[in-house]
Symmetry: D2
Subunit: 286 residues, 4 copies
C-alpha cells in the first residue's frame, strides 16, 4: 500500500471534484483518508488537497504512474498539481545565525517525532549552533559572511543544498538577506519567520519602536521568502499580550516564544503538504 | 436557481465522495460552492457538508425532488442525511430570564444581518427582556415559573413553539432547567451556553469557586441541550485570562463577554447548517 | 466616607511612594483600596494610581480640600496629577454613524451596570442610531455632515458637549474625521476604535486588502484621538484568527466583535481612571 | 549596591504601605525599582512585592541586616515575609522521565539567559534525558523507580537536593507521584505542569477522553505540588483551540506546546520572586 497527498489548483468548474474522485477510485481503487477544498469565489479558482491510500501500481512507484495516468484529467481542467508520497520524508536544511531558540526548538521537535523529515545538514553564518546541531547527530557547516564574499557563500550554500538533495530551506533566525537569485531558485521552498507588530514598524530595532509606541500586542509571522523582503505569502501568525511592565528584553523574549510556534507550525504544514500558495497568499489545509 | 446545504453521515467507504458528487452533477448539474468532509478514523465514520447551487427541478421544490432522487444513494451507503434550503431562513425562539446580555447581543446581530433567521417570538420566565425584544419588533411572552406550574409552563412553551413553526430554541441565559420530556422532543434543537472553568467547579456559585481557587482562565461553552444537564455535545468554547486583581464581579463580566461570543457563534453555525453531532460530540464545518 | 482615585506622574525619585502614602494617611487617615505603580526606567518617570477611601473633610468636598492640601507634595516632586471622585460618574457622549454594533454594545453594558457613567446624549451624523438610543431613554441628535458644513456641525457638536457637561467623547464607529481644532480642545478625552492588521494596510478598504494579502489574524485597536489620524496613544488591542475560508463579510463580522471588546474595555478603563498617557503611549492600571 | 526583592503578606491595615516605604527609605535610603500590591478584600489580607536597590549595609550582607532591622515593622503588622537577594541565583533541580520537551525547553532558555538560576543537576527515573542534559554541561542522575524502591529513591533524591543546596524542584514531565513526605518537606518549592481540559477529565488517558468528548479547547496548568495530586495552587494556565480534524497525537502535540509555555513561565516567575501563595491560590506580581 502507498499513501500519497495530491495538491492541486485550477479554475473552478462544475464536475471538478467528481472527476478527481472518480479518477482516484477508478484508476487506483483509492481509499480517501482526508480531503479538503477551498474556493476563491472572486477569482473563480479551486484548490484541493486529497490524502489517499492505494495499492502500489505494478512495477513502478506511484508518482511515475500517476503522472501519466492523471495527465488527461489535469489537462482538461487546466490544473497545476503535485503528488507527494507520504512515506517519502522531505529533506530539510536549517539556516541559523547566533540566536538558537528556533534551531533548538526545531531539532527537539524533529527528535521527538513531531516533524517527519530528514535534516541532513544545518548551515550557519556563525558557529554558535554547531554544538547543539552535532548533539543531535547532524553535520553543521559554518559559512561566515564578510564584506564581499556573499556571492561566494551563497554559491557554496546552494552547492550543499544540491549535494544533499534538500527540498526545503528553513531560516531559523538566519540574519542575512538572501539574494534575489537564491530566492528565485528556491521559490516557495524557503520558509522564514519575523516579528510583526500593530502598527507595523520598519527599521532595524522593531522591539524598541514597539516599546516606544506602547503597543499592547506583539506578534510573529512565518512566510515563504520572496524577493520582497518579509513580504512573501504568510503561512502563520500569532500574537501575545504585552503591558507597560514589559521591558524591551521581555518583548524580545515573548517574541521568541511566538517565533518558535509560528515557524515550527509552518514547517510541519509544509512537510505534510498542507500549503498551497497563489498570488501572494497561502491556502492552509488543516 | 436554488441554493442548498447537504449534511450527511455514514460509515466510511470507498467511492463515497465520488458517488455524492456524481449524483449532484448528473442529477442537478449542480455547482459546488463549498464542501467539507471529516472522517472519524477510529469509528470508521464519514461526515460531509456540501453547499451547492442548481436549477430548481421543474414543478417542485428541490427538497421534495431530492428526497426521492437521493434515496438510492443514501440507502446504498446507509446515510443519515438532511437537505436544507439555504434560502429558507430557520425560525428561532430565544428563551431568556433576567440577564439580558446574550439577548441584546443576538437581537442586535440579527438586526445587523449577521444571523440569517426569523425570530418570531421571545419567551421569558421574567418580563425583563420584553422592552428590548419589542424594540426590535418581536413579540415577547412572559411565562413565569412558580412552584408546581413547571409542567404547565413547558406545555405552553411547546404550544407556542409549534404555533410559530420554530426550528431552533436558543437559551440566552435562561435560568430554568428544561424537563427531560421537553429536551427529548427538541433533540439537537436547543442550544445553551454555560460557564466553564479549569478545573471544573460544580454547584450554584461557580464564579465564587473559581475565585477561591485562583484560576488564571475562565471560559464559556455553548452546547446542545440533552437530558444530562450541561453535558450535551459541545459546539464552541472560549476562554479569557483573569488575575488576582479581578473581583468576582469582574469574573462575571468577563464571563458574559465569552457567553455572548460562544453562543452567537453556535447559533450562526446552526443557522448555516455547519454542525453535525454524533455520540456526544460535534463536527463543525467552517 | 468618600472614595477617590489619585492618578499622578512625575520624575522618579527616592521617597516618592512613602511621601504620597504618608500624606494620604496623615492628612485623611485614608484606607488604601488599590494602588498600582509603574516606572519608565529609561526616561526616569514614575506613574501611580491610588484608590482610597476616607472621611469627607468637614465642610467641603474632598476634591477642593485635596487640591490645596496636596499642593506642597505635588510641587516638591513636580507631579502632574488628577484626583477623581469615585462616586462622581463621568458624563459620556457617544458619536455614531450607520454601523450600530458598538453603540448597541455600549448602551447594553451601560444599562447592565458595567459602565458606571451618565450618557446624557448620543450624536449621529446619520439618524440610524436614534431608535436604539431612545429605547434606552437617551436623547439622540442627528447632525448630518454635508459638503461644506463640517465646521458648523462641529461647532454645534461642541456646543452640545458643553451644554451637557460632557467629560468624554466615544467614537462608536463614527465615520467622520474630527478637525484638528476639535481634537485639540478635547485632548485625551476622545476614544476611538479602528481595525488593525499584520501587516498594516492603508487606504479605504483595509478588509479587502487584508483578504487579498491572506492574513491569518485580524485585529482592532482602541486609542485616544490625536491630530494624527488613528495614531494616538493605544489603549487596548485584540486580534482573532482568520482562515482562507473567511470571506470579506466574515472578516468584517469578526472585526466588529473585536471592536466591541476593545472599545468597551477602553471606555471602562477611562471611567475607572485607569489610564495615564504620556508621549504617545498609555499606562493601564488594572 | 545591592538589589533585593521583598515579598510579604499580612492582614490589611491602614498605614501599611507608608510604613514599609518609610522603613526602606529611612533605613536603607532605598531606590524602589518596582512595587506591586494586592488586596484580598474579602479576607482583609494584603500582599506586596517590592524590588529595591540600596547600598550594602557595612560589614554584612543585606539579608542578615534586614532580618533584624525589619523585625519591629514585621511584628507590628503581623507579616509573613521573605527577602531575596536579586543577585543570588536560585539553585534549581529538574526532574524528568521520558518525554523531553519541557527539559529541552528549560535547558535552552537557561542557556539563552532567560532563566536566571543555577541548575546543578537533573534527576531522571529514566536515562533518556541524560545526553541532552550533559550537552548543556549539567550532571544527570538516573534513579530508576521499581516496585518497592520508591522510599529509597526519594531518600536519595532528597540527599542530592540537600547536597547541591537546591532551592526549587521543577517536575519537567516527571511521571512519578511524589510521596506526601517529600511534598511536605518541599512545600511550595516544587513546580509541576499538567494538562487541563474543559470539562475536566480524570483517569490515565485524558487526551483520549477529551477527544471522545469533542472538546474545542485543550489546556495546561502549572502549579505548586501539594499532597493533593495536581490540586496545588495554580501558577499559570493556557489553552489552545482544537477541532475535529485533530487526532489524539495532534492533541498531545498541542498539549506539549502549552506545557512548555506554562511551565517555563512559572519557573521564571518563581526565580524572580513574583509568586505569593496563600490558601490554595497564588498572587502573581508581573
Amino acid at each position: 500500500m502507498t499513501k500519497a497527498v495530491l495538491l492541486l489548483e485550477c479554475p473552478d468548474r462544475k464536475g471538478l471534484v467528481a472527476a478527481i474522485m472518480n479518477f482516484l477510485v477508478a484508476q487506483y481503487d483509492a481509499n480517501i483518508l482526508h480531503a479538503g477544498q477551498h474556493q476563491d469565489a472572486e477569482q473563480g479558482r479551486f484548490f484541493m488537497r486529497v490524502e489517499f491510500e492505494c495499492a502500489t501500481p505494478e512495477g513502478q512507484p506511484l508518482a511515475a504512474h500517476f503522472a501519466k495516468a492523471f495527465e488527461p484529467v489535469a489537462s482538461e481542467f487546466r490544473m497545476r498539481w503535485k503528488l507527494a508520497d507520504s512515506n517519502a520524508r522531505l529533506r530539510v536544511c536549517l539556516f541559523v545565525s547566533q540566536h538558537l531558540h528556533c534551531l533548538a526548538d526545531l531539532l527537539q521537535r524533529h527528535k521527538a517525532g513531531e516533524l517527519e523529515c530528514e535534516i541532513p545538514l544545518v548551515i550557519g553564518n556563525h558557529p554558535d549552533g554547531e554544538g547543539l546541531t552535532n548533539f543531535y547527530g547532524i553535520p553543521f557547516h559554518t559559512l561566515a559572511m564578510s564584506k564581499g564574499n556573499k556571492a561566494a557563500v551563497e554559491e557554496e550554500q546552494m552547492r550543499l543544498l544540491r549535494e544533499h538533495n534538500v527540498d526545503l530551506v528553513v531560516l531559523a533566525r538566519y540574519m542575512q538577506i538572501l539574494s534575489a537569485e537564491f530566492v528565485e531558485q528556491w521559490k516557495a521552498k524557503i520558509i522564514n519567520v519575523h516579528h510583526s507588530f500593530l502598527p507595523a514598524f520598519v527599521g532595524s530595532k522593531p522591539y524598541h519602536a514597539a516599546f516606544a509606541r506602547g503597543v499592547k500586542l506583539i506578534g510573529a509571522t512565518s512566510h515563504y521568502v520572496t524577493a520582497d523582503l518579509d513580504e512573501g505569502p504568510i503561512i502563520d501568525q500569532d500574537v501575545t499580550r504585552v503591558t507597560q511592565g514589559d521591558t524591551i528584553p521581555d518583548l524580545i523574549r515573548k517574541g521568541r516564544d511566538l517565533e518558535r510556534v509560528v515557524l515550527s507550525r509552518a514547517v510541519r504544514w509544509q512537510l505534510e503538504h498542507r500549503i498551497l500558495h497563489y498570488d501572494n497568499k497561502t491556502v492552509i489545509f488543516d
